[in-house]
Structure formats: structure tokens, C-alpha cells
Symmetry: C2
Subunit: 182 residues, 2 copies
């Protein structure tokens, strides 16, 4: 309905090993002008994988999160490599981070993180029909893999080490997906 504002000018104002900050000169359809900054994501996208073990259990991983300086529970995730499909990236990350591969992978939704100032998007993928298969990742220490019960999700939501919006959102999308299957 609303007419998209125009990006009159853009430039990279900072570039580090991982991050690129872009400054945008915006003009809205009503004539208002604003200078915005946003973070540019890599061009290949990212995936989050929900490993479903059976009707009663799913897997979470616990690893160090430098942004919040704590060990956090979350679903496996990672960047898609050049020329890799996001389904294949999901199966690779699953094997690197949990030691399982999946015979069945289903894309649920492409989610954004903070669309106001991050360009990052991420495919949420459900992995089912798991079998043991380990790929080496680049983790500094072994990742802890935790089996969780669907019946204990309320306790999970209450935990101080399960805070990541993407993983909470994924759990919601999973429940909606599983209900539609029934």
C-alpha cells in the first residue's frame, strides 16, 4: 500500500572482518528525508535447523555466545556457502553441530532478525528422519547436544539461557507445522 522510500545515496562507512555498515540517504514518499545506517549481511543467506527426533523429542545445542558472554541453548544454525542450497546448508550444519543428518528437510519460512537495521534473512528448516552422521565444523570446543521433550517447552521458554528470538520463533513455526500435519 505505502510507496517505498527511495535510497538516494548509499556508502559503506565501516568495514571489519565480519561486518559492513552502510549509510543510506533516504527520501520518503511524503518528502521527508532521513539518514539511516544498516548492517549488510553476507550475500548467501543463512539457515536455522530444527532437528526433530520423534513425536516426543527435538534437539537443541548449547554453545558459547560471545555477544552475551554466556552459554546459550538454541537451534543449530550457520551461513549458506556459495553455490550451496539452503536445504543442503541445513543438513551440513546439522551434521557439524549435532552429529546427525536428516533424510527429510522442509523449509518453513524465511525470517528476518531486525529488519529495521539488519539485512540478514534466514531460512528456517525442519529436519526429520535423523540418522548418525558427523561432519567436522570449526567450533573451538565440542558442542553440547541436548534432547528436549515437546511436553517440556514451557520450562524451556522460562529458562534464562534460552533467549534467542530466532530459536523461539522457530519453535513456534515448528508447532504450527506439526499441527498442520496432524
Amino acid at each position: 500500500m505505502s510507496k517505498l522510500p527511495k535510497i538516494k545515496q548509499s556508502k559503506i562507512v565501516a568495514q571489519t572482518r565480519l561486518f559492513a555498515v552502510e549509510e543510506l540517504s533516504m527520501e520518503f514518499s511524503n518528502g521527508e528525508k532521513r539518514i539511516y545506517e544498516r548492517l549488510k549481511a553476507g550475500s548467501n543467506g543463512a539457515v536455522l535447523v530444527i532437528p526433530v527426533v520423534d513425536e516426543e523429542h527435538f534437539l537443541l545445542i548449547k554453545e558459547y555466545a560471545a555477544g552475551v558472554e554466556a552459554y546459550e541453548l538454541a537451534f543449530p544454525k550457520g551461513l549458506v556457502e556459495p553455490a550451496e542450497k539452503s536445504i543442503d546448508a541445513a543438513n551440513r550444519e546439522l551434521q557439524e553441530e549435532t552429529g546427525f543428518a536428516a533424510n527429510k528437510l522442509t523449509q518453513l519460512k524465511k525470517i528476518s532478525l531486525a529488519p529495521g537495521y539488519l539485512s540478514h534473512k534466514m531460512d528456517v528448516v525442519v529436519a526429520e528422519d535423523l540418522y548418525p552422521s558427523k561432519l567436522e565444523g570449526d567450533e573451538p570446543e565440542p558442542i553440547e547436544v541436548i534432547q528436549w521433550k515437546f511436553s517440556d517447552i514451557e520450562q524451556l521458554l522460562l529458562r534464562d539461557d534460552f533467549t534467542e528470538a530466532r530459536s523461539i520463533a522457530a519453535l513456534y513455526l515448528l508447532q504450527s507445522f506439526l499441527q498442520q500435519k496432524d
Copy 2:
């Protein structure tokens, strides 16, 4: 259970108007060393507000999201100001972005965004018992306020303009909160 890795050194490697990128020299308890980068959030925190109209409806806003260059549906949110409580920030943002204030505000959970490389955390607050009250914000154009039915949440999750992980997570936390009230 796991012993926290040590931050041996840290320095700001880029600073723009909005963003600060920090480089960390990490040492894990097994002796492995890594260089990490993370984005530092402002020190006052942020809030996301879920405005509940009645037992059948809640409010969403639609505004331009520069990160993904699209108009996106989401819950109102914003930064907490210095010396402001997050409940008060929630009520202020609610008035700025929807034209309503709330008599009842309940903190649900503190969520993180991408804890691996962002330090950002955000209080999710439910706003109930709404009444008209408008505060001027700094928006470049009027924000569209949309009333949505709880019974139409499945359609919302399917929409391409409702992608934000924080808002999807908030909806899940809201449903869990409302079920516990029943």
C-alpha cells in the same frame, strides 16, 4: 556446566553513528583460541510491546524497514532511554507508534537477537487495558496501525511481510502467557 571462555583482550575496531564493532581475543577452557567480532548494543536496552485490544484482537504496526528495503508488519519497539524503566519505555513507544497507552503492562521475557555476535537484549512486554493517548515520535511518516485477530494468526505467519524473528517469538510468548491466565 561449561566453564566460560576468557576474553583476553578486546578493542573497538569500528565505530559509526549507530554501531560499534568490538574484536575479542577469546581463550576457551580447553586452550583453543579464537578471534571473535561482535556488535555492541547501547547500554540502556530495548523493549518490544504486544498491544492486546481484547480477547479477540491485538495490534501490529506496519513501517518501512531499511535493512530489508520493505514495509514490514511487526510489534512496536524501541530503545529504552537513560534512567527510564523498560515498562515505561514500552508505554511510551506504544503511544508514539500506535496512539494508545496501556493501564496494564506485564514483562514476559528478556530475549536476545543473535547472541553469538550481537549483545542486544530486549524486554518483551504485554500491554493490556488500552486507551487512546498519542505521543509524537520521530517517525518520517505516519505508522500504519493494524488490528489483527488471534484466530487469524496462521495467515499472519504465512505472510511475506511478517518475518521478524522478535515479533514471531513475541507472539509465541503471548500465547503461552494468555493460556496460563485461562
